[in-house]
Amino acid sequence: MSEIHITGLDKAYPGKNPAQDVQALQGIDLHINTGEFVALLGPSGCGKSTLLNLVAGFEQPSGGTLLVDGKAVTKPGPQCGVVFQEAALLPWLDVWENVVFGPKVQGLPAAEYEPRAEEMLRIVGLTDFKHHLPVQLSGGMRQRVGIARVLTLGSRVLLMDEPFGALDAQTRLTMQELLLTVWQKLKPTIVFVTHDIDEALFLSDKIYVMSARPGRIQSEVAVPIPRPRAIEVTTSDSFNAMKREILRLIRH
């Protein structure tokens, strides 16, 4: 049984009249195995964020089945950690308090989560910034806190909604490498939403190309680039060949 199991998933938003109903997602079939790194690739409006919201439990589907770890998703929770595009850190808490917020509200004992939080902050390289407020950090650093907090949560599934979209190109590359390092170490299942083909190819094992109106999975592309992957791999011939293929799929 795969970690995330989706069949025939639909999501419709009612409009003012039936003609204005929006079919955000239609007939989505998706099976993601434990520890896989999967990308949802598509233009704006293709429903990839909606799909992520459904898996996260922020919204409910209109039809079909959605199982995470064999159980239906009824509400959000720590089993699926979410990393948002704008980090969404609590601005009145410092880095440390943001990272331990999850275990704290769940009432877990400090002895259990504090070492893990320290470790996650060390992995993302923010140990020296424990007592800084989010407003004092750069965009890239805030995203690192966003990643550290879901890792501290212990989520086995990470849902990432264009997490590096708001960053400049250089920072984005650094963050991509960081994410791969983290994934290599901890092996969570990752569903990564992006509109950037390079990013999808560099990071994932498998890319689901989506099309819009209605939102559908158009094709599934395997990415057999060997791991660990260095950033230089994005300039190789095989990389470009896959990129050409995906461009062809998107722009048919």
Partner: protein, 272 residues
């Protein structure tokens, strides 16, 4: 380096100087015009006001009929104490209520009609009601102050609770927060800037309420003095009283801003 400090200090002094220009001009005009015989019986000059104020502040209260000797502080204390009670009550009721109304549609449907329905009634219109229920006593004044502060606090708090960024809520839920924890740990802190706005506006209105209520409802305080001094023809005290009210309003506002700056450190650091 020292030159920069000099330049900065000089800039500040000249800004202060320009700011004082028009008030000084107004005071001088007032002094000159007030010395003219036609006007001196109606409006006292600034110097006369200062003299009367000085006595009101520092003179020894005698056995005579002049109630404005050294009684300034006690009058201020009466009013300030009423404002403190009424405003604290308004905050204790208004903030939780505002949060609940912004948080729960059910609470909004329950309480909105009553609050919005009573809001247009000006505080002065509540005076007869307050006297009828509470009589000429402190409680009447405190009730009106409560009303003055309450609406501003509730309305601003509700807005603050409603405006919480959706992704903050989603992040907290994703991390395992219950609905109750969401209210206490996300909505409340996120609404704090709006709550402080409500507190500042509410306090300003509370001061006007205390003045109005003291004019008829009680027999002490700055509002009472305002009317009493006019009644006995002490216009110098009237004007000194007006200035005192302005000062008290200003100082209490500064107090809230001070607390706000300490509490909302994260807001202070946002540079926009």
């Amino acid at each position: 380096m020292a030159l920069n400090a000099f330049a900065a200090a000089g800039a500040r002094v000249s800004r202060l100087g320009i700011g004082l220009l028009i008030p000084l001009l107004a005071l001088v005009t007032w002094q000159v015009a007030g010395s003219a015989p036609e006007l001196s019986s109606i409006i006292p000059t600034p110097l006369a006001v200062l003299q009367g104020w000085d006595q009101w502040l520092f003179a020894k209260p005698g056995m005579g009929l002049n109630p404005y000797l050294g009684t300034w502080l006690s009058n201020v204390q009466y009013s300030a104490y009423r404002v403190l009670q009424g405003f604290t009550l308004a905050a204790l009721v208004g903030v939780p209520l505002g949060l609940l109304i912004g948080w729960s549609r059910l609470m909004a449907h329950l309480f909105d009609p009553l609050i919005q329905g009573l809001r247009p009634i000006p505080i002065t219109a509540w005076l007869p009601f307050s006297i009828a229920i509470f009589g000429i006593r402190d409680m009447g004044s405190i009730f009106l102050i409560f009303l003055g502060g309450f609406y501003a606090i509730v309305v601003n708090t509700t807005q603050g609770a409603r405006d919480v960024e959706r992704n903050l809520m989603r992040a907290a839920l994703m991390m395992g927060a219950t609905r109750a924890q969401l209210l206490r740990r996300v909505v409340l802190p996120a609404a704090m800037p709006s709550i402080f706005t409500g507190l500042r506006i509410g306090l300003g209105i509370a001061w006007t309420a205390v003045i109005v209520s003291e004019m008829v409802a009680v027999k002490s305080g700055l509002g009472y003095v305002l009317w009493d001094a006019y009644y006995v023809g002490r216009m110098d005290i009237v004007i000194a009283d007006m200035a005192s009210i302005g000062i008290m309003g200003y100082l209490s506002d500064r107090l809230i801003v001070f607390v706000e700056r300490r509490t909302l450190v994260w807001r202070q650091m946002q540079s926009h």
